[in-house]
């Protein structure tokens, strides 16, 4: 079987094309990146820019139907049940939505991955204790955690993050541990050991980078999950509550109007789906782009070099 010889003599450029031009070449990933970028920008500047429009009520002009410019661009996506601009609210809601989702994923990832690294690398006993702890968290219903935290600590975005993060920790923990158990037996880890590398160094420099892509993939999948979980908590009355505003809350508040004013729940639902979809597409692209051994798949076609 002829291999594509990728020896130095066949590699024209050292670093290959920039990440950006690689992204441009994958149209799906590129559009995903654009969508995410727009959402992030909305999340950052939305509240300051549109905060007033988003809260401007008009009880007598409620549930204004979408796709009409009669009341200006702000009502192009319709108005909500208090006559506020859907578009402005979607943009403003991006802020807390992304904050909660990002915060949750970041906290769960950090704690889960750290415990997972320890559990995978340390001896059997430490590992067992950590794993059983994960079991306990897994069996602890997130709803109860939500009620406990919200009752004892009060509802707030950091507390929401806490509630959601606790329930997601085991996923990262178990994945990381499983990967570490495999990676730590790899030859290059042994090689580092032979050179005298400390445990910290082996974990951080050799194991973590190999585990990271898997974690990133899970994190992107989880992002959507967290947005939906937050929405479900709102639905059950123990999540974010007005005057807070997230897409999940908007979906759950729009629920009674599904028959009469579909756009109340549809747009925020669509935003969640779009974000999830874009993240997934971008993350599968990133998995390849950030792996030096696979990056060539995204590079331009080269002349044959055998």
């Amino acid at each position: 079987m002829a291999e594509v010889i990728s020896g130095p003599q066949s590699t024209v450029a050292d670093k290959g094309p920039s990440l950006l031009s690689m992204l441009w070449r994958d149209k799906l990933a590129f559009s995903s990146a654009i969508i995410l970028l727009v959402i992030i920008v909305a999340a950052l500047i939305g509240p300051t820019l549109l905060g007033d429009i988003a809260t401007q009520q008009n009880l007598r002009g409620r549930n204004f139907p979408p796709f009409s410019l009669d009341r200006g661009w702000a009502f192009f996506l319709g108005g909500d049940s208090l006559g506020r601009s859907m578009l402005a609210r979607l943009i403003v809601a991006a802020h807390s939505t992304i904050l909660i989702a990002l915060g949750t994923v970041a906290v769960a990832l950090t704690i889960g991955a750290t415990l997972g690294l320890v559990a995978g690398y340390a001896g059997k006993h430490v590992s067992q204790i950590i794993m059983r702890l994960a079991d306990v968290i897994m069996s602890f219903p997130s709803l109860l955690i939500a009620v406990v935290v919200l009752y004892v600590l009060g509802p707030s975005i950091p507390n929401m993050i806490l509630v959601l993060a606790i329930t997601r920790i085991p996923i990262y923990l178990r994945t990381t541990r499983a990967e570490v158990l495999e990676v730590r037996e790899r030859m290059f880890v042994q090689a580092a050991k032979v050179m005298g590398a400390t445990h910290t160094r082996i974990i951080l420099k050799h194991i973590l980078p190999v585990v990271t892509p898997t974690l990133v993939t899970i994190a992107t999948l989880d992002f959507a999950f967290v947005m939906l979980a937050e929405s479900s908590l709102s639905f059950l009355g123990i999540g974010v509550q007005p005057p807070g505003i997230t897409w999940g809350l908007m979906v759950s508040q729009g629920r009674p109007y599904l028959n009469t004013a579909w756009w109340l729940a549809f747009w925020p639902g669509l935003m969640i789906v779009l974000t999830a979809l874009s993240l997934n597409l971008l993350s599968s692209w990133m998995r390849v782009a950030l792996d030096p051994a696979q990056r060539w798949r995204l590079e331009t076609k080269r002349k044959k070099n055998v």
Partner: protein
Amino acid sequence: MSDALLTVKNLTVDFHTARGTVHAVRNVSWSVSRGETLAILGESGSGKSVSASAVMNLLDIPPAEIVSGEILYEGKDLLKVSPEEHRALNGKKIAMIFQDPLGHLNPVYSVGWQIIEMMTAHGRPKDLARKRALELIARVGIPEPEKAMKKYPHQFSGGQRQRLMIAMALMLKPDILIADEPTTALDVTIQAEVLALLKELQAETGMAMVLITHDLGVVAEIADRVVVMNKGVIVETGTPREVYHAPKHPYTQRLISAAPGKGEIKLLDETSPVLLRVEKLQKTYGNFDALKGVSFNLTRGQSLAVVGESGSGKSTLARTLLRLEDADSGHAYWKDKDLITIGQRELLTVRREIQMVFQDPTQSLNPRMSVYDLIAEGWDIHKLMPNKAERRKRVIELLEQVGLAAEHVDRYPHQFSGGQRQRIAIARALALEPELIICDEAVSALDVSIQAQVVALLDGLRQRLGISFIFIAHDLGVVRDFADTVIVMKSGEIVEMGPTEQIFDAPREPYTQRLLAANLDPDPDVQAERRAALTDA
């Protein structure tokens, strides 16, 4: 060649990759007749397997594209028949066995199931298939066929697995058997047995055999004709003797001259001081004694080879010396410090002085680190060379020392060939200026020509820098070229130890003799003599 059973004519196959089109093979033509063994010899990347894959319809299209050519079997062009027709031929008329039978056997089904399937897939009744399977399993020399049928691939040894693969291939008495590197992963003694088995079976059934290999020794032992491939084209065709004794193409000449085991044997410098004194090293895994009290000395600048078959304990020896495993008992004095018992702090110093080069550079180099990071990592660990510019200069020096160039500094391992990767691994070992480098099968995964280069590189380093080597290998040819002292191990014990010359020319122990006898010589005449000698005896 009118009586040819299978003919490949002017076959050109391209691979379309994201990096452009690669001509995997160009204008390749060969044929094989009933009862004949054709060897296709080539190194990795030569395209030696492509034509056989095309015969079996195993090429993935795309990315592969068959540009031109034909493959004639029984008057039909196999490139033109329908997939269904082709499927009916596979296994039934043309069977194939592969290198690494562990990977090529399905891990979750019993071997019996897999062997029987060869016949049931082609519509034969199951009980008939079962009977035939039992016969063949017995024929290829697996004890207790009934029991063996129920076992899974991982429960057999490598040699047994290859025998089972052969049994499977022969289920439907194929006209042609294609063997792709069938003995590469096996110990020399097992390799000899498997090749002998193939020859016997060929004699019994009269099938044609196409043997794809990189090993001149295998060609010398078994082939009737050989085609030599390089970079997708056939450079030479002939009988093994013609090719070996009078290679016409420069590539063939280079290949033959690179074959190990022909160089001058080195002598030990008896005056050097002892660097490492190993005493009664012992290590047990469960019920398995990996090391049963191994003792030897190593002097400065010595190159000590440890040879033995799989399971002999040679790798465990390396791992215990490096404290990757803890020995159960025994000592290993390194400059008066016992490697087996010293504490972490002292161990850190030792870890600078003793380095290791692993078998597979693809795995021993972290794929996510650049060459610079890989080589400089040791300095990070031991807090040496804080100056960045100096570091970079030194990395480049090291790269040049192992035959690479400054421009390679920022690349990643996957951008290099296997030989180059091993050079990077060696550069990494050298970066800490060690006094001893332990090479665990460091050249086994490399092509012959690359192997010779790397061995020469190591030898140069030994002479110039006075580094000692413990060289663990199963390939006796390489050992003969590199070592001045040889330890022969078997079942965790040292069977024989002595100067290379004595071991190779006058082995004392029967096991050493057997090992040497099983080692294939690239010269077909030598192999023929040995066979004659064996039949006489």
